[in-house]
Symmetry: C2
Subunit: 106 residues, 2 copies
């Protein structure tokens, strides 16, 4: 695990995109960004933590809404520059009240 963690390629802002997927239904719920600290908090707490780019602060998903996401598994892609986080969501992922942020269709 430590080896893979050290391989992760953060971007110029120290961030890596993290896709969040429902571990049971496989629905893609949201995408957000993690820095090394939020990834560490995610692994240690077993709940998702992100870096909020708009607020420039660590963001414990569900801290306000109660809709925390329990982490089931974290995967890394071949280039080690994107994460896939499988979760058990306690409620809707989207601040619009939708289960998934991807509720609109082009």
């Amino acid at each position: 695990m430590k080896e893979l963690l050290s391989e992760i390629k953060y971007d110029a802002n120290g961030l890596v995109p993290a896709i969040v997927q429902d571990a049971e239904t496989n629905e893609v719920l949201m995408m957000a960004y993690m820095n090394a600290e939020s990834l560490r908090l995610t692994i240690e707490s077993g709940e998702t933590w992100f870096w909020s780019r708009s607020r420039s602060e660590l963001w414990h998903k569900g801290a306000t809404s109660g809709n925390i996401q329990g982490v089931v598994e974290i995967r890394v892609d071949c280039d080690a520059d994107t994460l896939l986080v499988l979760v058990e969501p306690a409620g809707p992922a989207c601040h619009m009240g939708e289960r998934s942020c991807f509720y609109r269709n082009i």
Copy 2:
């Protein structure tokens, strides 16, 4: 459709992350980046096109490998800064020969 397209928020490099998901199995296959031109080509051709950040060129997924991805649906998230592309893949998404790029587990 045109309204949603004009809402898409590209980053400072003119790119938007595009999560690619198998429309049948819901497996997340890969993540890559689109610019407005590759999104236009994707919509027009019904096959995924991306912007290759490493090669700085448009990239028709599968043009070399044959593993094209037929587009079933394109979704936009609540912030309009991430796309979710549901596809029927003709073969493995990953250049490592794996079905999904997310084959490694932390």
